[in-house]
């Protein structure tokens, strides 16, 4: 039986990464993510995994991509300012289809902002921070236990879809300590990148395969091929031929967006039996659930839709959840970064109310309760 322990979100992320098979970590210290680096530095040598502290966040991003090309399961952890520095290489990982995980423990921004205080301000940065039209996967857990399991999922998705995955903790969850009860020997599905089975001379590393994700050989396995951040043909070499470029860019987006049903995960509470729907993620979803519980006890029909996967969005699912509601309320610790997606998806068919906090404090249940009462007036 698993021992009950008090564990911090950042530590759960570190443990989840090791469970997922992370064999390489490169990072640069930044509050509020630093505990992840500290845990990796402590735990990795014992299992022969490799840790390096780099000179900055750009170097950290480069190192994990290089390590992944050489066969490692690699990740880094940072916060908003560092994540901004990494953005060029998030795009590099996307275009070269090298699986890596970027953990971003969100803090108040812009710039240095409030380094020790919480925010959910990187929702759109995670999606659009790097230039170009690739797609991305991003995940936001709401508890310490979920952080553990979703970290494993982040690695699995990176490997399965050959893509960078952004793991969006917020400072509240990253630094929260709570009950952690996990059997270290628990059987959990671990996905590793699909390897080519053909002869090296027949290997087409960026082939337009059905499903959009070609098998990936690691360095040293006899398939000598080329990664480049230039737009490339299926062989991996630079190409500016119009049909090649167009097809390539569309595949990068489609391999994620067309598999949204496989990738997207959410929690739905009383979604079918409510007049007002709350849509919340990460730490704020806990406030939303508490508000919902209190309101339902008082007979007010409120439901909660909690996206665990932030990107890509299962738009059909959100549309269905919102249909026919008197109002949808989106509480978040930014000025409406997810609410704008909900507005776009429901396209005026349901009123969408934003409940935004950008003073570094977690949205409190009472604020949500007040807004529900307001919209039901």
């Amino acid at each position: 039986m698993a021992k009950v322990r008090l564990v911090q979100g950042n530590e759960a992320c570190a443990m989840g990464a090791l469970k997922a098979g992370a064999s390489f970590y490169a990072g640069y210290p930044i509050t509020p993510s630093t505990e992840i680096a500290e845990h990796m530095a402590e735990m990795m040598p014992a299992c022969g995994a490799r840790f390096i502290q780099m000179e900055d966040e750009i170097a950290s991003a480069g190192a994990i991509i290089g390590a992944s090309a050489a066969g490692a399961k690699a990740f880094t952890a940072t916060s908003g300012p560092g994540f901004s520095l990494m953005q060029e290489l998030v795009g590099y990982a996307a275009i070269t289809e090298i699986p890596v995980v970027f953990v971003d423990v969100q803090r108040m921004g812009p710039s240095t902002g409030l380094p020790t205080l919480s925010s959910q301000g990187d929702i759109q940065q995670a999606r659009w921070g790097s230039h170009g039209d690739h797609s991305i996967i991003a995940i936001a857990p709401n508890s310490v236990m979920e952080t553990y399991y979703q970290t494993i999922k982040a690695f699995n998705l990176a490997e399965k879809y050959r893509t960078p995955v952004i793991f969006l903790l917020d400072e509240e969850i990253g630094h929260l300590r709570e009950r952690f009860e996990v059997d270290e020997n628990e059987e959990i599905e671990i996905i590793n990148r699909e390897k080519p089975t053909c002869a090296p001379e027949d290997y087409v590393p960026f082939e337009n395969v059905a499903g959009g994700v070609p098998p990936m050989a690691s360095f040293g396995e006899g398939y000598r091929y080329h990664f480049t951040g230039l737009t490339h043909n299926e062989k991996g070499f630079y190409s500016s031929a119009l049909p090649v470029v167009d097809k390539f860019n569309r595949r990068l987006v489609d391999k994620i967006e067309k598999n949204v049903k496989d990738i997207f995960e959410c929690e739905e509470l009383f979604v079918d039996d409510c007049d007002v729907l709350l849509i919340a993620y990460g730490s704020v979803a806990r406030s939303a659930q508490e508000a919902m519980n209190e309101l339902r006890e008082a007979g007010v029909k409120v439901g909660l839709f909690r996206p665990i996967t932030i990107w890509p969005i299962d738009e059909e699912r959100i549309k269905a959840a919102c249909a026919g509601k008197k109002a949808v309320i989106v509480p978040e610790m930014n000025l409406g970064q997810y609410a704008r997606e909900v507005e776009r998806i429901v396209a005026g068919s349901v009123p969408v109310k934003k409940l935004c906090r950008v003073d570094s404090e977690l949205v409190i249940p009472e604020e949500i309760i007040d807004m529900v009462k307001e919209v039901l007036k």
Partner: protein, 272 residues
Amino acid sequence: MKPIYQEYFRNNLPHIWCAGCGNGIVMSAWARAMDELKLDKNNVIGVSGIGCSSRITGYLDLNTLHTAHGRALPFAQGAKMARPDMDVFVFSGDGDCAAIGGNHFIHACRRNMDMTLIVINNNIYGMTGGQFSPLTPFGKKATTAPYGSVDPSFNLCELAIGAGASFVARGDIYHAKQLTDLIVAGYKHKGFSVIEVIASCPISYGRRNKIPNPADMMQYVKDHTVAKAVAEKMTPEQLEDKYITGILHEAQGREYTEEYAKLCERVQGGDK
């Protein structure tokens, strides 16, 4: 036996470089070094940044990684950490390595990870059409220094030595055989090996600085490079516009991946 270029280059030539460019000479000097070292290509990783010189990796029949501007060394160190048993060559240029990648360069020297960095210094940003770099000599012209550069340059090799690289050498494209020897020596040295190569860009540098002819450019390289042994007998005035070539620094240093492996052993043995 196959010619060297067939053995070590991919079947995708001709390359993109201008006539008279020095990059091809460096690439073939590297291939001759490979031929001498008899390395297993499957076990060799080639990493480069962005710029004319960094396009080299596209032509090498290795496991290759053409990365982002200035970032070749972080990628290379990540790859080396993941596979310490593999050989790593990094190709960079003066802009890529000394400007945007300058910080990574310093820290790669400091860590002393076992790999060989070849910096092709043609004194200019060639691919973007001739802007000055941190290695463009004072007073020389570039598109962003149309009246001559007032931006001081620095000595990359001295920087490397100061930052802790355990092997530092300088070669040039005129003395191609010496360059091959330096690459071989750099590879054999355990630790971070830096080889700066004085090269030519007749199009973006030469034309603006009164050496537009590739042959004259080659002559310029010959005239401005001095072997270390000869340089030792010259006065500072005589050496003022000269590049000293040869192995400039060689030392035993702790190699990063070995130290990390020892650390793992120590931790696994229960000793902290």
